[in-house]
Symmetry: C2
Subunit: 117 residues, 2 copies
């Protein structure tokens, strides 16, 4: 491991390098998982993501939208109603996300044990 990896993780355009940009933050992964079962409204997302501030949720959602993971739809009407849904690209992330979570469920006891020692 003295040579750059293939693909080079530090190429600014490298896939691996892109991941942290949007999934390395605190909320993106969780938001995507919250949208797995179908579109949700802004305030519906705040419930399972307890603790998230409106500002941060807005920021995260905007970023996910910009990157094509999420689609924002504002329904006009007497009461304001905005829905967020996964795009096909966003849905394609569900599987790798689940792989990670499956790993965590399978190994977190070990992790806790290691941390104590």
């Amino acid at each position: 491991m003295t040579e750059p990896l293939d693909p080079d993780m530090f190429d600014p355009l490298c896939p691996s390098g892109l991941m942290p940009i949007r999934l390395g933050d605190k909320w993106s992964g969780m938001i995507i998982r919250c949208l797995e079962q179908g579109p949700r409204r802004f305030s519906e997302l705040r419930v399972p993501l307890r603790g998230i501030s409106a500002k941060v949720l807005t920021q995260s959602l905007r970023a996910l939208e910009r990157d094509g993971f999420v689609l924002r739809t504002a329904h006009s009407g007497p009461v304001q109603r905005v829905e967020y849904a996964l795009t096909p690209l966003g849905r394609s992330l569900i599987e790798p996300l689940n792989t990670m979570c499956a790993w965590a469920e399978e190994h977190w006891e070990e992790l806790l044990d290691a941390r104590e020692a």
Copy 2:
């Protein structure tokens, strides 16, 4: 999605919640991938991880060690020589990591396109 997820992502002990702790940072995932092919020395790791400072590499390695992903071995001798290797737990992360990277390789064109628009 108005109910807590199952498992609840915000349980302090939840697997999903644990992930960002060690893999959400900038370097942990990459370090683990750098150790995939076998043990590496401190300075060998700095090459592919170009740009990482000694301080940050040390911090990351210590954390990975504490969590049981990496094993540190100091070989005594005339010249100091320290090797880092994946533990079985660390190796078990390779697959989910590769799943993520495979996703990225497959979709980053879409991601770039979305970002331009």
